[in-house]
Symmetry: D3
Amino acid sequence: MSRISVAQLKLNMTLSRQPFLLREKSLTTTRTGSAMLRVVLADRTGAIGGVYFDVPGHVPDSLTVGQGVEVTGRVGEFKDQLQLNIERIIPARLENPEEFLPLARRPIEEMAQEFDALCAGIENADLSRLLKTIFDDKTTYQAFTHAPAAKFYHHACVGGLLEHTLSVARLVLTACELYPELHCDLVLTVALLHDLGKIRAYDPVSFDLTGEGSLLTHLYSGAAQVERAIDALPGFGAELRLQVIHALLSHHGKLENGSPVLPMTLEAIVLHYADNLDADTRGALDHFQRSEGDGSIFTEYSSMHETKLYRRSQDSSSPAGSKQQSLL
Amino acid sequence: MSRISVAQLKLNMTLSRQPFLLREKSLTTTRTGSAMLRVVLADRTGAIGGVYFDVPGHVPDSLTVGQGVEVTGRVGEFKDQLQLNIERIIPARLENPEEFLPLARRPIEEMAQEFDALCAGIENADLSRLLKTIFDDKTTYQAFTHAPAAKFYHHACVGGLLEHTLSVARLVLTACELYPELHCDLVLTVALLHDLGKIRAYDPVSFDLTGEGSLLTHLYSGAAQVERAIDALPGFGAELRLQVIHALLSHHGKLENGSPVLPMTLEAIVLHYADNLDADTRGALDHFQRSEGDGSIFTEYSSMHETKLYRRSQDSSSPAGSKQQSLL
Amino acid sequence: MSRISVAQLKLNMTLSRQPFLLREKSLTTTRTGSAMLRVVLADRTGAIGGVYFDVPGHVPDSLTVGQGVEVTGRVGEFKDQLQLNIERIIPARLENPEEFLPLARRPIEEMAQEFDALCAGIENADLSRLLKTIFDDKTTYQAFTHAPAAKFYHHACVGGLLEHTLSVARLVLTACELYPELHCDLVLTVALLHDLGKIRAYDPVSFDLTGEGSLLTHLYSGAAQVERAIDALPGFGAELRLQVIHALLSHHGKLENGSPVLPMTLEAIVLHYADNLDADTRGALDHFQRSEGDGSIFTEYSSMHETKLYRRSQDSSSPAGSKQQSLL
Amino acid sequence: MSRISVAQLKLNMTLSRQPFLLREKSLTTTRTGSAMLRVVLADRTGAIGGVYFDVPGHVPDSLTVGQGVEVTGRVGEFKDQLQLNIERIIPARLENPEEFLPLARRPIEEMAQEFDALCAGIENADLSRLLKTIFDDKTTYQAFTHAPAAKFYHHACVGGLLEHTLSVARLVLTACELYPELHCDLVLTVALLHDLGKIRAYDPVSFDLTGEGSLLTHLYSGAAQVERAIDALPGFGAELRLQVIHALLSHHGKLENGSPVLPMTLEAIVLHYADNLDADTRGALDHFQRSEGDGSIFTEYSSMHETKLYRRSQDSSSPAGSKQQSLL
Amino acid sequence: MSRISVAQLKLNMTLSRQPFLLREKSLTTTRTGSAMLRVVLADRTGAIGGVYFDVPGHVPDSLTVGQGVEVTGRVGEFKDQLQLNIERIIPARLENPEEFLPLARRPIEEMAQEFDALCAGIENADLSRLLKTIFDDKTTYQAFTHAPAAKFYHHACVGGLLEHTLSVARLVLTACELYPELHCDLVLTVALLHDLGKIRAYDPVSFDLTGEGSLLTHLYSGAAQVERAIDALPGFGAELRLQVIHALLSHHGKLENGSPVLPMTLEAIVLHYADNLDADTRGALDHFQRSEGDGSIFTEYSSMHETKLYRRSQDSSSPAGSKQQSLL
Amino acid sequence: MSRISVAQLKLNMTLSRQPFLLREKSLTTTRTGSAMLRVVLADRTGAIGGVYFDVPGHVPDSLTVGQGVEVTGRVGEFKDQLQLNIERIIPARLENPEEFLPLARRPIEEMAQEFDALCAGIENADLSRLLKTIFDDKTTYQAFTHAPAAKFYHHACVGGLLEHTLSVARLVLTACELYPELHCDLVLTVALLHDLGKIRAYDPVSFDLTGEGSLLTHLYSGAAQVERAIDALPGFGAELRLQVIHALLSHHGKLENGSPVLPMTLEAIVLHYADNLDADTRGALDHFQRSEGDGSIFTEYSSMHETKLYRRSQDSSSPAGSKQQSLL
C-alpha cells in the first residue's frame, strides 16, 4: 500500500501500516478499567486525531512522541471531524522524516543562503567573530535553520524561525538607511540573534514549550548562550558586549511582555519594533488563514492582536457602491 | 546694526532694534503694582528668554505671539543662562520670516519632491484621487510641508511632519516587499496621510497644541478631514473608505494611546509599527542631542521612552579591554 | 393556520408555513458531504433555533438574514431547549415586520414626542439649527428612533437608543439645576446626540456591529456626522463646534474605554457620568431579567459590571429576623 | 485697631495684635542654632504665610494649630507673595471663630433644613430609625453639617460635605424617577450617609487627613459607624443592613479607588455615579476658580481629572466666525 | 448495610439508605414538564454527583443543603465520572456530622492548643484583653477553629482557617526576631485576627461565599467585628486601636486586591507578606494535588498564581544526565 | 591637623588637607567662561557637598570618583545645609579606606561567618558544589560580602547585600519548617544566591547602577553568572539547574517588576515573598530614619511603598485616653 498523506484521507478509508509522525499521545484509563489511547498523527500536509479503544497495556509505552509510527485502522468521524479508529499502532522508523512536519513558505536552503550572506556581510570584527562562533557549530546551525518561530499550530513550521529572522533583518536594514546614527553591524547582528533562544525553548517536533522554554524563557536562554559565546572570544569589546546582550534582553519592549529591561539604545529600539511588526503581521496572516472560508468579514477574536481582525473582500479596491450593503 | 542671530549673542552685548520672532509672552503684575514682561525670542539658530522690568502698560498688548519684534537692550545672565534685559520692544514685520524658525535636517524642497513622487506612484484610482483632492489644495499642502511633527522644542521644526511622514512611508514600502498580501497602495496612502491632522493640532509657530489639537486630537481631526475629502469623490469604494479611515484612527495601536479602535487590518498593523519605529528612534536621537555634552553614559530620564537612554561612547566598536573600567 | 408566536411554541407542535424573521443562518457542510443549515428565527416575543438536516443546495442562498421566512416543520428539543426541526423554509415578505423585533418598554411614539420637545426647547440658535439639520432628515430620524442601544440580546430592542438618550437627557437636566455654570443648551444637545453614531454602528435587525461600527466605532462615526452637519451651517460658532465635538468624542470618559480624549469641559464631564449611570443601571436591570427565576441571590458574573450582581429578595425592606438565615 | 481681614492686607501695612486662626506652624532650627517659625494665618477671606525670625524658644510651643492667635508685625513680600514678618505672636481666644474659616456657597442653615427634610421623607421604618439614631446625636449632626468634603484648600470649606451630600441626593432622586425598580428610600439613605466617615477623616480646621482618615479611610470609618448604629436598632432587617453597608463600602466604584468591593446592587451603582458626577463637576469648578485670570484657554493639569481642563471663553455661545483665530 | 464512604464507591454498586451530607442541590424542570434533581453528596473522603430523574414534586423542598440525607440507588457513570442514579433520597440526621466534611491536615485540637498558647503569650494588656474578648465567646471560637480558609474545593477544609492563621503567626514571629523595631505583640495579634471575618464570609458547610462575604468582604467584616470588640474595652489605647484596624484592613497589600488602604506600618507590611507567602505556597500545594497523576511536568494554569506551575520530578536532586531528555 | 569626620564639621570651621572619599564630582562651566566644581565628600559618618569657585582647569581631571582626596577650605552654609567652600583639593591615598564608607549594622565578619555556616549546611551535593565554586573565588566573596543591597543613600552600606541575604535565608528556613514539601537545600541555595548579580550591578563606592546594572539588570547578571558556574560542574542535575536559574529569574514575582517569568515552583514562590518581606520592611525602617525628627506622625511619601508611612508614637502601647486628641 503506497503512502497516503493526511490531506488525502477520506471517510471510511481503510489504512494498513501507514506511516505518520506521532505528535501527541495520551492515555485515558476509565474508572471501569478499560484503557483508551488518544493520539495526534501528522505529516507535512496536516494532522488528524486517532483513538484506540481497549488498547493493550504495552502499546502506549512503546510509542514515543516525535518519532514515527505505522498505523492500521479505518477513517471514521467524530464531532464532524475525521478521526482514525486505530486497530494497531507500532513504532517505526520514518524514511524521510522531513516529510512529516509542516514547512515554511520559502525553501530552507534558499533562506539559509540569505542568512549566511547577511552574516558574511558584517564588517565589525567582534560581531563577525561572534556570529561565526555561534553558527559554525553544526548542531546549532541545524537547529536554528529548522526551528519553529512559535508554538501555535498553523504558525509553527520547520524553518519558521529562520523566516522570521530574515524579515526582521530586512526591516532593520531599511532603518539603517533612514538613521545614519545606527550602528548597522550591531543592529543587524542582534536581529540575526534575537530569537536564538527559541531553539532551546521549543520542541522541534511538537513545537511545545520545553521545560527550559517555560522556566527560563527563550529571551534569557538566548542572551545567556550569546554571552557564553562572547566569553570564548578573547578581546571582545566590553561595551559592545553590553549592547549586544542588552538588545537581546530588551527586544520584547516592555516589562509586562517579559523583557527584564526596556530598550535603552537606538539598536534595541529599532530591533523591538521590527520584531513586533513582523510578528504581528505574520500572526495576522496566519490568523486569516486559520479561519479562511467561513465567509464572514471579521475573523474570530485573535488573542495575539487583542481584537478580531477584518478580512478585506477580494475586490475591495474597485468602486464599491454595491458593496456598501454588506458592510452597513 | 546688522542682524545678530541668537547663537551669536554673548554676555554684555548691547542690542539695538534687533529683529526676533516672539515665541511666548507673559505679563506678571506684582502685588505692589509694578509690571514685568517676560518673553521668549527666537530665530532659526535658537531661543533666548527676555525680561522687561516696569514695562509700560501699552507694550504687552501691542505684541503678538508668532509675529516679529524689534528689541533694544543688553545681554545679561540669569541662573547661569543668558537673558535679555529689554529696554524697548516693538512689533515689526520680519523680512524673511522663515529665518526665524528651526528647520528640518533635509531641505523642504527636496522632501516635498520625494513626497510628490510617492503620491504620483499610487495606481489605485480612488486612492490617487484622494491624495490629489487633499494635497492639490495649496493651503493644505503648504501647511503640511511646513508643520512640525510634535510639540517639544528640539523635536519640533519646520518640515518635521514631512520628514516623519517620509520615513514612515519608507518603512511601509519595505513591508510591501516582505508581505505580498499587503495592499500596497492602501498602506502607502495611509502612511502619507496618517498625521495629516497635525496641521490643525499644532500651532505652526509656537508648536503648541491648538484648541482643536487638545479637544479633538490630531487623530480625529485627520480622519475627519480625510473622510470629508472622500465625500467629495463620487464612487469612492465603500469598503476602501472604511479601511482608510480605520488605519488613520487605529495608528496609535492601543486605546490607552488615544486610538479609539485597535488595528484590525494588515495595513493598519504595519502603519502602527512603522510610525512607532520612526517616532521612538527619532525621539531617542533628539533626546541624545538635547543632553549632549554632559559627559555621562546615560541620559536623563526620557518620558517618551519611559527610561533613561544609553549613549554609546564614540569608539565602542573597537576591541575594548580597557573600557570595561568606565562601565563596571 | 393562524400565526403562532415564538412564545407560544410547545414541544411536538407542527408548523405549517409559519412566518418568522430570519435572525441568523449558518451552513455546516460535514466532511461526508451532507449539509446542515442552522438558523435563528425570531419575532417580538423571542427567538428559537432551527436545524434543517440534509438541506437542499439552493435553500441557504435563497434566504437573507434580516428578512422574513415561512417555515414548515415540527418543534423538537435539543439540550433541554426547544428547537425547530425544519422540513421546508422559504423567503417570505412579512406583513407587519415590526411585530418581529423586540420593542422598548415605552411606546416609540411617546418617546419620540418627548425627544422632539427636548430639541424644540433648545434656545441657542446654533445648537437648535444643528439638531434640526440632523433630525429633519427623515432617514436619520427614523433610524435614530428605532435603533437599538447595544448589541446584546435582552438589552437590544427597537427604540432602545431613544430610551437611553432620553434617560441621559433627564440626568443632565438635573445637573443643570445643580450647577448654574453649565451651558445647559450645550449639555442637553450633546446628550441628545451622544450616541448618534450607533445608527451606523449596529445592524437594525441583527443588532450586530456593522463593518463601520467595528472599524470606526460609533464614537467616531457620530462625531464625524455631527461635524459634517455643522459644516453645512454657515456662521456656526467655532468654539461651540469644538465643544460639541469634544463632548461627543470624550463621553466614554477614559482612553481605555475608547474615547480618544478625556473630558475637559464641564459639559463633557456631566455627559460622561450621566451616560454611565444610565448604561450601568439599565445593564444591571437587563442582567437581572436574563437570569430571573434561578432562585439564587446572586446572578451570574456580569462582564459589564465586572462582578456578579446581588438580587434583592422581594420583601427585604420589612423587619427581617427570619431572613438572616438565607444570607448568613 | 479694628480687625483687618486677610483680603484687606497690603504691602507695608503694620499690624498690631490682629486676630487670626492658626492654620499651620513649623519650626526650622538652622544648623547655626537660630530658630525660625513659619506659620499660616487665616480667616474666612483667605490665608497668608508668616515668618518669625529668631523666635524665642517658648513661643512655638505656646501656639496650637486650629486655635486663635494675635499677631503684631508688618506685611512684607516673599517670592511675589505677601508675607507677614512677625514681631510677636500670642495665643488668643477668637470671639467669633466661624469668621475665620471659609464657608460653603449656600448658608449652612438653609442646607441643613433641606437635609432634615430629606431625612424626614424616608418612609421605610428601619431606614428612618437609622438616620434618626445617627443624626439625633448633636455632636455628629454639628460635625456633619460643618465638615469639609475634601482636603484641598480652595475646595475645602465649612459646610462642604453637606453641600456635596445634597447634590448627590438630588441626583439619586432623579434616578428614582427614571428607574422604578430602585428602592428609593434605600438609595436616598445611602446617599445621605455615603461620606459620613469624613467627619472623622478630616480635621475640621486644617482640613488635613486625620490619623484615622489616613489609616482607616473615611469609607471604612463611615460604614463601621453606620453598622454600630444599626446594632443599636433591634429588629433592623438583616438583608437591608447588608445593602446599606454594601452601598457605603462600594461607592468609590472600583477597587483601585479604595472600595473593597464593587457595586453589586442597583442602589450602589446609582450612588457611585451620582457621587462621581458631583465630585468631578465641583472639582472642575474649583479648579477653574483656582487658576482664574491667567488668561489662557486651558487650565493647569488637574490631577483629579488627569488632564488640563478647557475654560470656555465668555461669549462662546454666540456666532463665532471671528473667534476661530484665537483657537486655531 | 454498613456505611460506605465516597472513596469506596464503585461502578454498579447498589446503595440502600446510605448517609451523606447534601452539599448542593438544583432542580431542572425541562420544558416538557418532567423534573430532574441534581445533587452533590459528600463525606470527609470526597464528593460525588447524583441525579434523580422524574423526581416527585415534594422531594426537592424536603432537602436542605448542609444537612444529612439518606440515599438509595445505584452507582453509574457520566462523562467518565462516577455518578449516583438516585431512586430515593430523604432527609436524615447525621450521627457524626464531622465525618462528612474534609479535614485539615493537622488535628484541630492540636492546632487549637497552639493557637491558645499564642494568645496567652501576648503581654500587652490591651491586646491580650482584645483576644480574650473575642475568643472567649464560645460561638466565635468554635466557628473560628472550624472554618475553611477559602472556597475552592481541595483547599477548603474544616480547620483550614486555623491552619493558615498558625502559619502566618509562625512567619511573623520569625520577622520579630529579624526586626527588633517590630511591635511583636501587635504583629502577632493582627496575624491571629487577620482573617477573622472569614467566619462570617464563608458558609461552614458549602464553603461558598455568604451574602455578607460577597457584599461586605471578609476584610471589612473582620475589622468591624474587632473594632466592636475594642469598643467594649474601656481604656483601650486610641493609637493602638488605629494600628490594629489598619493592619487588618491593609493586609491584602494593594487596593486592587481589595484592601481600602495600603500598609503604612511595619506590622501591616510584615503581616501582608506573611499572609501572601502562606496563601500562595499552600495554594500551589493544593494545585499540585488537584492535578496529581496526569503525568505532565507542568500543571494546568493556576488562576491564583497567574501561570501554570512546575511539578518537580521525584528524584530531581540526584545527578540527572538521563533526565535532560525529558525536559529539553 | 588630626582627621575630622563629616559628623564633626561645624559652620566656619577651617580645614587643612583633610582626607575624604570623593563620592561625586561635576564641573559647571558658566557661559561667561568661569568654571565651578561641585563635589560630594564622604566618610563613614556621612556626606557633605563642596563647591570650588573658579577652579583651575587641571584640577577636575586630576580627581577620580571613588578615590581619596585632601581638602583645604572652610565650612560654609547653603540653603540651610553645611557646605565646604574649597580652596584646594588634591588626590590622595586613603590610609584606611574602609573608614570612608557607611557600614551595615552588624559586623561584616560576624555576618560572613553566618553566611559560611549556611553554605556549609547544604547537603545536596550539586548545590553544595555550586556554592563552593562561586564563593571560593576570593574576588567574588570579597565583593559579595561588601556590596550594598541597593542604591539609595541611607539604605546603601558596605555589607548591605550580605545583611539582606541573611534575612531572606532566615525567612526561607522558617518556611522549610512549615512546608515539608519544600526542597530545603534548593530554597536556601537560591536565597543565598538571589541577589548575586548586584555585585556587578552596583558600584561598590558610589552605589550607583553600573552600565551592566542598567543595561542587563542584576537579575539577569546573577542568573547568567550562576549558570556559568553550573557549566563548570560536570554531572550537575539538569532539572536542578532549571530550578535554580528559574528561582533566580523569577524572584521579583511579576513581569512588571522585571522578572522575565513568574514563579512556577514552590521554592521560587517562597523566595519571592521572603525577599519582598525583608526589602519592604527594611525599606520602611530606612525611610523612617531618613525623616526622623520632623515631629509629624506620617512620613513623606515613600515611592518604594507607594504611600506615606505611619510612625508610631513612642508610647503607643500604653492605655491612651489622652492620646486620642493628637490623632483625631
